[in-house]
């Protein structure tokens, strides 16, 4: 037993020495920018994390091939968080051990908020491609590529009102999810000044999301001619199927969480025909930047990118623009780079795949125009 404990302490001591050696050798002496990414690449939200990771990697490869940022190459390291706040913090710690200098992440809101607490304490620059909750940018080191939830909710209400899409609207949202409730609340306040009326607002939770018959029945009984779904596409696919089974055919309107519905394996896409959604990116866009990105992505990964891939791709190019503006060097500490980027972000204007002329306020919120698409013949088409 004594021998064993000696062995353990020896192992522990050598591990400590090794890890300290790791710190000493890397800090400040590398010649690449170390960008870390965090998102779910396994678990229920894996499609988002994978897409962001692929989008980022595509941008990193392009930049490195073209000679890097001011001649400095990028190293990219993406860690899995399984859409779980605790695991996201672990992933962040792993990246810290790797001496990360800038962070792209997290992909989803709840883990993102957890990580902002850590990154703010360490003063590490963080840009989330797709975490849309307001609290994702609660500190001055956090920025967003996508719209914030209030933005999406208010924009949806405005879009429905201005285009006279409905007079009676029902909402089905996930009360256990910060993304969904955030959009729901801003939609309700945005709807007050619009010519339509919210006739039913029903919730579900992460623990009871197989049966939507009650929510749909209530929407139908209230005479809703449009149902607003500020939720993710998995539940949306079920809702569309169940509505179809009960013979209820309202118009459907949704936000960026609906993006991905056409990619559900074996899903009868005719059910999604006519679904409208607000999204900053459409794969069939003819805009030059977007089509170049879409083609490169398909060539590399063999599938059509969703909005999250575009968000990830843009995040890397936004970082590039901000790094060039701030003149950061790879030998700078993460904290020094972060201070430079904070002011650089408010000065740059980036034309990206998810929007032209994107600018940022010091609060971290992005300023760009939303775009509505409608699903037509199994693909996104621009709304007229």
């Amino acid at each position: 037993m004594k021998k064993f404990s000696k062995l353990v302490s020896l192992a522990a001591a050598s591990a400590m020495v090794l890890s300290m050696a790791g710190c000493g050798s890397n800090a400040g002496s590398s010649d690449t920018f170390k960008i870390g990414g965090i998102g779910p690449i396994t678990g229920g939200a894996a499609i988002y994390g994978e897409s962001v990771m692929n989008g980022c990697q595509l941008a990193v490869d392009e930049i490195n091939e073209a000679g890097g940022i001011n001649g400095v190459k990028i190293e990219f390291n993406f860690q899995d968080d399984e859409h779980d706040a605790e695991k996201a913090v672990n992933a962040y710690n792993t990246l810290k051990d790797w001496n990360v200098q800038m962070l792209i992440g997290c992909v989803t809101s709840t883990p993102c908020i957890a990580v902002t607490e850590k990154s703010n304490a360490d003063n590490v620059f963080q840009i989330t491609p797709s975490g849309s909750a307001v609290k994702c940018t609660q500190y001055d080191n956090g920025f967003q590529v996508c719209f914030s939830d209030p933005n999406q909710g208010a924009a949806s209400a405005q879009y429905i009102g201005e285009n006279n899409l409905a007079s009676k609207v029902a909402v089905i949202y996930d009360s256990s999810d910060v993304y969904s409730t955030g959009i729901y609340q801003s939609f309700v306040s945005g709807a007050e000044s619009q010519p339509f009326e919210i006739v039913s607002a029903e919730a579900f939770t992460a623990d009871s999301k197989t049966d939507f018959s009650v929510q749909l029945q209530k929407a139908q009984d209230a005479g809703a001619d449009l149902v607003f779904l500020p939720i993710y596409y998995q539940e949306s696919a079920l809702i569309l199927t169940q509505a179809n089974a009960m013979g209820y055919a309202p118009n459907w309107f949704s936000c960026d969480g609906m993006d991905g519905i056409l990619g559900v394996d074996n899903f009868d896409t005719t059910l999604a025909e006519g679904v409208m959604l607000l999204t900053p990116y459409a794969a069939d866009s003819t805009d030059e930047l977007s089509s170049k990105f879409t083609q490169a992505y398909i060539a590399k990964y063999g599938e059509t990118p969703i909005q999250f891939a575009a968000d990830g791709y843009d995040a890397v190019y936004i970082l590039k623009a901000a790094l060039e503006k701030s003149g950061a060097k790879p030998s700078d500490s993460a904290s020094a780079i972060c201070d430079g980027l904070k002011s650089a972000m408010t000065q740059i204007t980036v034309d990206g795949v998810t929007g032209a002329g994107m600018t940022w306020a010091a609060t971290g919120e992005v300023n760009k125009a939303p775009m509505a698409v409608v699903i037509k013949d199994g693909a996104y088409a621009a709304m007229q």
Binding site: A46, S208, S213, V214, Q217, A237, N266
Partner: protein, 294 residues
Amino acid sequence: MSFISYLINGISLGSVYALIALGYTMVYGIAKMLNFAHGDVIMIGAFTTYTVCSIAGLPPVLGVLVAVVFCTLLGMLIERVAYKPLRKAASPLAVLITAIGVSYFLQNIALLIFGANAKSFTSIVTLESVKLAGGQITVTGETIVTIVVCIIIMILLTLFINKTKAGQAMLAVSEDKGAAQLMGINVDATIALTFAIGSALASIAGVLLCSAYPQLTPYTGSMPGIKAFVAAVFGGIGSIPGAFIGGILLGVIEIFGKAYISSQMADAIVFAVLILVLLVKPTGLLGKNIQEKV
């Protein structure tokens, strides 16, 4: 009119819970262990059918058959590898923890093979929906089939346990393992048979669950599994008619809670009812009162 359609939706949801609860309660009643991996066997059953029908394009009947056979073997394998070695362990907690481990193991295996993307499940039920009251109420074919299947299985299971030798052996094992062994019953074989039947039921439940709520992910089985466990406790764990009644009631309470009280509070209401029932009748609705002899 909406009251009736809520009721039908509740029975529809409840019959799926009941079907899952049958397997839970049977394994508990005989092997005296909570098989938390039951929900994940359901998921594996659904994925098997999905692979056979939607990917390989074979007819649904074949899909169900393959799923039943596959899950039966899987259930026996799990019992042999993960539970049997622990049957004589000092603490009954050991096997419970192992069951949770098996549950995660199955989820991760499915994640590895099929990925995290949700898949739409093509219903294997071809029965048309029935319209009542001039088209105001729709009863889907899936609901009808699930209820009928559930009742048939309940009757067959009761007959099997009460009328056959193997069933009597199961009853004996559930009463007293040691005494059963002395009477010449092969306890290990009997428990293996229990798992085989329980897992076969799970695969059928999986196929019907995904036909009624057509979406499939590696986590599909876990929440219905937990609700079905609640249903089994509700009806009196170990009791086969209890599982059926518990499942149906749970579904109806859940839907009524959503419809008339609050859609956010559905689960809280379900569990509040469970607590009330257990306070009044600790063994569940149809549970047997077991007198401790000193």
